[in-house]
């Protein structure tokens, strides 16, 4: 059993669940404590020792079900597949076998009398040396099923079956009953072969589970945002959520380095009274790292909508890394969409910002107009702690860029970071006015893929606000 558990742990590791050797040992010890009697208890024993993140539990359950088959349920399933067993046929067979004292092959024995669970065990055992670890694609299933089947000695089974039928004939059984028995044996043989194929398919699923997902995630992170299909957008949400968690976790670790600072005279003196005025314990004034205020201004026109979507998702999932987040959306008219994020869950708020905000979504982008409106109405709300994150391709449709507005805004805030979902080679060509806005920005970054987006936000959270303190 221990080997089976270790193999299962291998599966978990392939599915990106981290399991350390000490946890593996714990799992063995725990399973020895509870035994295999109750499947759920056994599952809990493994889960509590191997899975330490609640978000991995679903993966664990799924793999567990693939790997530790519910043999009882399986036996029931096979019984159902075989149809109602004819007790008379069975009885007849049993009686005859006992009378004649036939020496049957183990496999025949299994086919005649075995329960589903025993058959499964036999198949699994024969799969040990069949090279199943090379199984990777669906197309290989047939090959491996045959290979597995070949490991059984079918000629012996056939010979046995022939012998049984001949014997029955000799004993003068009527043809109708003979046919029934033949039918029964054939059914069982077929069911067994089907079980072999199912076993191989399950094995494939076990191996491939999550592998594909990982590949997809990596591929998606580097895919240009404008080229995403609707399906990919849905998957991308998970990618972004994962990214947000990574950034947040890293931040928690980094915060521990904050424990240096000047002496806090008040607390140190207070504490020294206890020791006759001798400052035995020094208290340090903790430096409070100021979280940045963040304002995002997103172009939500068709061309860059995906980029805006993921930036909004990322920023709002990292809310607690900022002291305040406000978001604006524009095509040409600009409107604040923050209230949606305060009312609804992030996903719904994003949909609203991209489609339902009180702006005209069908006009042509006009960055100049949006910035000038922003400067006119929001300038007073800006301060030196605020960082502005602009997302847009700066394709201004030959309107007046009004770069003065952006410069004016820059004077009031800590910095402006511009993310451009268009490749750097296109900046300044055609109606792109990126070069005119760039001088007012502290950073201008190309942001064509989610991976690039992650880098920028990571920098923003970890390094950006240290600057200039």
């Amino acid at each position: 059993m221990d080997r089976r558990i270790l193999e299962f742990i291998g599966d978990l590791r392939r599915a990106e669940i981290r399991v350390s050797p000490s946890e593996a040992l714990d799992a063995l010890a725990a399973s020895a404590e509870v035994g295999l009697g109750d499947r759920d208890t056994f599952r809990t024993a493994l889960a509590s020792t191997l899975v330490k993140e609640s978000r991995d539990l679903a993966t664990f359950d799924r793999l567990f079900n693939l790997y530790f088959l519910d043999l009882q349920a399986l036996g029931e399933g096979v019984k159902k597949a075989l149809g109602p067993e004819d007790p008379r046929v069975r009885e007849l067979l049993d009686r005859m076998l006992a009378e004649e004292g036939l020496e049957l092959d183990d496999l025949t024995e299994l086919l005649l009398r075995g329960q589903g669970s025993e058959m499964e065990m036999a198949i699994r055992a024969s799969g040990q040396g069949a090279g199943l670890e090379r199984l990777m694609y669906f197309l290989q299933v047939g090959f491996f099923s045959r290979r597995l089947a070949d490991r059984f000695d079918w000629s012996a089974v056939e010979a046995d079956l022939e012998r049984i039928l001949r014997l029955l004939e000799e004993r003068g059984l009527d043809p109708g009953q003979l046919a029934r028995i033949r039918n029964y044996l054939e059914l069982r043989l077929e069911a067994f072969k089907r079980m072999i194929r199912q076993h191989v398919e399950r094995e494939l699923e076990r191996r491939a589970w999550r592998q594909g997902e990982k590949l997809m995630r990596e591929a998606l992170s580097d895919k240009p945002l404008f080229a995403l299909t609707a399906d990919e957008i849905a998957q991308m949400k998970n990618v972004v959520a994962r990214l947000a968690r990574k950034i947040k976790d890293a931040l928690a670790l980094r915060q521990r380095q904050e424990h240096r600072g000047r002496i806090d005279t008040r607390r140190t003196t207070r504490k020294s009274l206890q020791y006759d005025g001798v400052p035995m314990e020094i208290h340090l004034r903790r430096r409070h790292r100021e979280k940045p205020k963040l304002i995002t201004i997103c172009d939500v026109s068709d061309s860059v909508r995906n980029a805006s979507r993921f930036m909004l998702q990322l920023v709002w999932s990292l809310q607690e890394c900022f002291s305040r987040v406000r978001s604006y959306a524009f095509v040409s008219e600009i409107a604040e969409v923050t209230q949606a994020f305060n009312t609804y869950p992030v996903e719904r708020a994003i949909e609203w910002a991209l489609k339902g905000a009180p702006i005209d979504y069908h006009c042509r982008s006009d960055f100049g107009y949006a910035f000038s409106r922003f400067a006119r109405t929001e300038l007073d709300a800006l301060d030196r702690k605020t960082t502005i994150l602009v997302l847009g391709d700066a394709r201004n449709n030959y309107n007046d860029p009004q770069a003065w507005a952006l410069r004016l805004i820059r004077e009031r805030v800590k910095g402006i970071i511009w993310l451009n979902p268009e490749g750097q080679w296109g900046w300044g060509i055609g109606d792109s006015v990126m070069p005119m806005y760039a001088p007012a920005c502290d950073y201008v970054r190309e942001c064509r893929t989610v991976a690039q987006l992650g880098e920028v936000v990571d920098t923003l959270v970890h390094r950006w606000w240290r600057k200039g303190r």
């Binding site: 981290r18 350390s20 000490s22 946890e23 714990d26 010890a29 725990a30 404590e33 509870v34 109750d38 759920d40 208890t41 809990t44 024993a45 889960a47 509590s48 020792t49 899975v51 330490k52 993140e53 609640s54 539990l57 947040k248 976790d249 928690a252 670790l253 521990r256 206890q274 020791y275 006759d276 035995m280 009312t343 869950p345």
Partner: protein
């Protein structure tokens, strides 16, 4: 301590705690393997209660360490009673004078005082905090480290050290080793990620909102005054509210509070008026409250 998982379930039930098979299995394993249990899950599903019940059931004393930001070793492990030491030195000044009266030179006087150091650095002047208490205890105890995610990562590392070999070294006294390995329960609300080391060391248990049948059993057990029909209606409504998209979902503790308040108000069934007026027991955010009020007929539907 426990012979089987069923026994755990049975004895927890007698102590008025409904433990699912999963919970009971992990408790059983923790007791058998001497491992700490790390419990995660939403607030109010009975994480702390589990530790309390464990102490009840086993008859062990419960030592609780509540974590918070800024918790340090001094508050968790031990502190010297400096003030008391100083006071004693003052009071004993004469005795000390006598002691060194016949010392011919300064180094020898220092030597004599040094010879008495043990008198001052002894358990008499040590005030043990929860962790040291758990280690020093003469009989086995249950140690509850509550809301470990509130403490800083350094503290976690330190805790890990204590939990892995249950010994503590006090520089002046030497190493103190636990007489009995305590049963340790840690709880976390997932405010931040815990370190891998700590997770590796612990058995992990995730307690989610209980299935309807269990919740009904819990309400019947904890608030026996509530009529059977009403309890069912409460569970039904709570399940519906949990399916809604709210900021903070009502937990078991909230449904218990709600059931209790309904009993106090002498309600026989859930009619919209009474639900409306007691809803704040269940849903704690203004925005959430509005949404639930808006969907009240759906919530109360069978």
């Amino acid at each position: 301590m426990f012979q089987s998982v069923e026994e755990v379930q049975q004895r927890f039930r007698e102590a008025r705690y409904i433990a699912s098979r999963r919970v009971a299995t992990v408790v059983y394993l923790a007791a058998r393997m001497g491992r700490p249990v790390l419990i995660e899950g939403p607030a109010g599903v009975g994480k702390t209660e589990l530790a309390k019940t464990l102490s009840d059931v086993t008859g062990r004393r419960l030592i609780r360490l509540q974590c918070y930001e800024g918790l340090d070793e001094g508050k968790a492990l031990y502190e010297w009673k400096y003030a008391k030491q100083l006071l004693y030195t003052q009071l004993l000044r004469e005795r000390i004078g006598e002691l060194i009266a016949d010392a011919p030179s300064l180094p020898e006087a220092v030597g004599k005082i040094a010879g008495q150091e043990d008198a001052f650095f002894s358990f008499r002047f040590l005030s043990p905090r929860p962790l040291l208490q758990a280690i020093l205890a003469d009989e086995p105890v249950v140690l509850l480290v509550d809301e470990i995610d509130k403490a800083e990562p350094e503290f976690e590392a330190f805790l890990l050290e204590v939990l892995s070999d249950f010994q503590v070294s006090v520089p002046e006294l030497g190493t103190v080793r636990a007489k009995h390995i305590p049963l340790v329960v840690l709880t976390s609300n997932n405010a931040r990620e815990l370190s891998d080391g700590l997770k590796r060391r612990c058995l992990h248990l995730f307690i989610d909102f209980p299935p309807p049948a269990d919740e009904l059993a819990i309400i019947r057990l904890k608030v026996p005054e509530v009529p059977a029909e009403l309890a069912k209606a409460v569970v039904n409504a709570v399940q519906k509210i949990r399916a809604m998209d709210l900021r903070k979902l009502p937990s078991v503790s909230e449904s218990l509070d709600w059931a209790r308040s309904l009993v106090i108000l002498n309600a026989q069934e859930l009619d919209p008026a009474i639900v409306e007026s007691t809803l704040s027991m269940l849903v704690k955010h203004e925005k959430d409250l509005e949404r639930v009020r808006g969907a009240l007929d759906k919530v109360l539907a069978e």
